[in-house]
């Protein structure tokens, strides 16, 4: 789960990492009112989860009320990576000398958390120059390991002290809140040597949320994705017209590829999960029925533990309710002949292989 910048900064504050003074505004009027409460000039920042916010015009500095209103209106109407800003963060403009990059993240290949730091901040982590990367022991970072990182960055004096504090606090945050990524980019160094986090990027470990119930109060990014998550489905909304449903993440993923290779555009990714019963199939299809861009539905089942007869019965039940998009199905494996019988007389189109079903659903026969 990704947090918005302002949510990440709340966590920074909780862990003693300095952030600029800011006010969150959910409406344009709130933004205008907040402008007056902060020292001039003020930075307006769109609150979106998508990347590329700066390039899309989602961050701007304003110095008077009418400009604040005009820019707030403009930003709230933006679409950044297909996403409308959910709020505006108004922040005091922070004068600083230098910018750094600092993060704590999982290194999957190394099978360890690592800290990545660089004296050149403000750009993508991939293109960081002179970056330092150090593995973090399972029990957490200690003073001497943190000092090694500062040493490799050739930091000294007040800057070094501030950096050590920030690094240790960020690592404690990432560990205690169970983040996959906790990133400060840029981390500004003020003339006084004080360090301030100008932006935040936090990705929580979804599988650890049961230990952090406070985050479950956060609104899901997409209501339909939220509903699917509640029902225990892996669901991702996409922009095409062919809903892709199957059993098993890898199988659905490979079906998306087949659809795209055949010239189609997937409307969603929906994994029923293993050993799905009839009621799960029904619930999944009802979700797909609510997806406005889904014009046709592809159901790809490799029945091993999942019984294709359960799937067939689920399909028949939902079709009987009405309003369901046309279904193209490949049901292979345990019980496939009985499944075929169950679907006789229904409008479900059955195919022997996944490629055949994909071609038909993309053409829309």
């Amino acid at each position: 789960m990704r947090l918005f910048e302002y949510q990440g900064k709340e966590l920074f504050k909780k862990y003693g990492i300095h952030v600029p003074r800011s006010i969150l505004a959910k409406s344009i009027d709130d933004a205008v009112a907040a402008f007056g409460e902060l020292p001039n000039p003020v930075v307006l920042k769109a609150q979106v989860l998508a990347g590329g916010r700066g390039k899309a015009g989602g961050v701007v500095t304003v110095s008077n009320v009418s400009q604040a209103r005009k820019e707030a209106e403009r930003i709230m109407a933006l679409r950044i990576g297909g996403e409308r800003p959910s709020a505006l963060l108004l922040e005091e403009s922070s004068r600083h000398e230098e910018e750094m990059y600092l993060s704590v993240t999982l290194d999957r290949g190394r099978r360890s958390f690592v800290t990545i730091a660089s004296r050149a901040g403000g750009i993508d982590v991939e293109s960081l120059s002179g970056r330092v990367m150090e593995p973090i022991p399972i029990e957490g970072l200690n003073d001497s390991l943190a000092a090694d990182v500062a040493g490799k960055l050739s930091l000294s004096g007040r800057t070094k002290d501030e950096f050590l504090k920030t690094l240790l606090n960020l690592e404690r945050l990432a560990r205690e809140e169970e983040c996959e990524l906790a990133e400060i980019n840029p981390l500004a160094i003020k003339e006084s040597g004080e360090m301030v986090a100008l932006d935040s990027k936090i990705i929580l470990d979804d599988n650890a949320l049961f230990r952090h119930p406070e985050f479950s109060l956060l609104e899901p990014e997409d209501p339909l994705e939220g509903e699917a998550a509640k029902q225990g489905f892996a669901f991702v909304r996409l922009e095409g017209d062919v809903a892709v449903v199957g059993n098993g993440a890898g199988l659905v993923l490979s079906t998306l590829d087949l659809v795209a290779d055949t010239g189609g555009k997937p409307a969603c990714f929906l994994d029923l999960g293993g050993g799905s019963q009839r009621d799960r199939v029904e619930a999944a299809l009802r979700l797909v029925r609510m997806l406005p861009n889904a014009k046709r539905v592809l159901v790809n089942i490799f029945g091993g533990i999942t019984r294709t007869t359960d799937v067939a019965e689920g399909l028949r039940a939902v079709l009987a309710e009405g309003g369901m998009q046309p279904i193209y199905a490949r049901l292979s494996g345990a019980g496939e002949h009985e499944a075929k019988m169950i679907l006789q007389g229904t409008p479900v189109k059955l195919y022997r292989s996944a490629p055949e079903a994909v071609e038909a659903v993309v053409r829309g026969d």
Binding site: R108, R111, S112, G248, A249, G275
Partner: protein, 296 residues
């Protein structure tokens, strides 16, 4: 057949953690049907019961001392996986298959560190398990009917895709010496590289089929390893997720592209550079295998 320190034979026996749950009892039945010997089950508070004729104990310690089995398969809920693994290892279990999905990353790292310290081997978590068709050993949730004895090794990050590929290979006349799912999580306690190292030592393995997917750099690291170690067997691969969007978790916790990290393109080009035969669809795998390996 020795697999990660365990001699897997028809008489290898296993202890099922969480045997009385819906999933645990269903798969106990299916594993028994396949031919796997299940010595005992463990569910705290359910000691004295039996599931499919298998005796249930309250603790793993009791189960190990009564049966002598040092292999376990875990169906416990994610929040208690770490504790169950710790109990298993302390009780002397040395080979663990963690089926459990949704395990927090930091718990998996703790599992890995504990296993390494005690010389135990963990497959998973979030794995379909491991199957050795010629030995009638199935430690997992895969449908036994998709697999046939043979001389290919099949390693996969995904469950159903592994079944689908195994099925197509079996139908085409290519059986498997082993099929093992490393798991769909960002951190796998058994790595793809360990699997390949195992396969390279086996005279009864002619070729390896690897099913990968987007996210992380397992495949890129493997490609480097294939080149550097001079891996001597034919390798075939399929990578799922060429059409997946970025920054979205595609079902598996580990199947996510961040920026340009973890894309299918990067994996496919790394594997091709290492001389791996890369299929563009699962159905293409048996056709590629047919071109370079004779049916046994």
């Amino acid at each position: 057949m020795e697999v990660f320190g365990v001699d897997m034979t028809e008489s290898t026996s296993v202890i099922v953690r969480g045997i009385t749950g819906r999933y645990g009892s269903l798969h106990t039945k299916l594993m028994l049907q396949y031919g796997t010997r299940i010595a005992a089950g463990v569910t705290p508070g359910k000691g004295g019961q039996s599931v499919e004729g298998v005796p249930v104990y309250d603790t793993i310690k009791e189960a190990v001392s009564k049966t002598g089995s040092t292999t376990s398969i875990l169906f416990v809920p994610a929040p208690s996986l770490y504790q169950a693994v710790e109990e298993d290892i302390m009780a002397g279990v040395r080979f663990l298959v963690a089926i459990t999905e949704h395990v927090p990353i930091r718990d998996t790292l703790k599992v890995l560190s504990l296993a390494t310290k005690h010389g135990a081997h963990v497959v998973g978590p979030n794995t379909p398990g491991v199957i050795l068709p010629s030995r009638k050993v199935k430690l997992g949730i895969m449908p036994g009917t998709s697999f046939r004895p043979g001389s290919l090794a099949l390693f996969s990050r995904s469950g159903t895709l592994m079944y689908e590929v195994a099925n197509q290979l079996s139908v085409s006349g290519y059986g498997q010496a082993i099929a093992l799912g490393i798991g769909g999580d960002p951190v796998n306690c058994t790595t793809m590289i360990e699997c390949f190292d195992w396969a390279s030592e086996r005279d009864d393995v002619d070729g390896v089929v690897m099913v990968g997917e987007i996210g992380g750099d397992v495949e890129e690291m493997l490609a480097k390893h294939i080149t550097q170690s001079g891996f001597g067997k034919k390798v075939f691969a399929y990578i799922a997720g060429r059409a997946a969007p970025k920054e979205k978790k595609m079902g598996h916790a580990g199947a996510i592209i961040y920026g340009n990290f973890g894309t299918a393109e990067s994996k496919i080009s790394a594997l091709k550079a290492a001389g791996v035969h890369v299929a563009m669809t699962p159905a293409e795998i048996p056709r590629l295998v047919e071109k370079s390996i004779k049916k046994s």
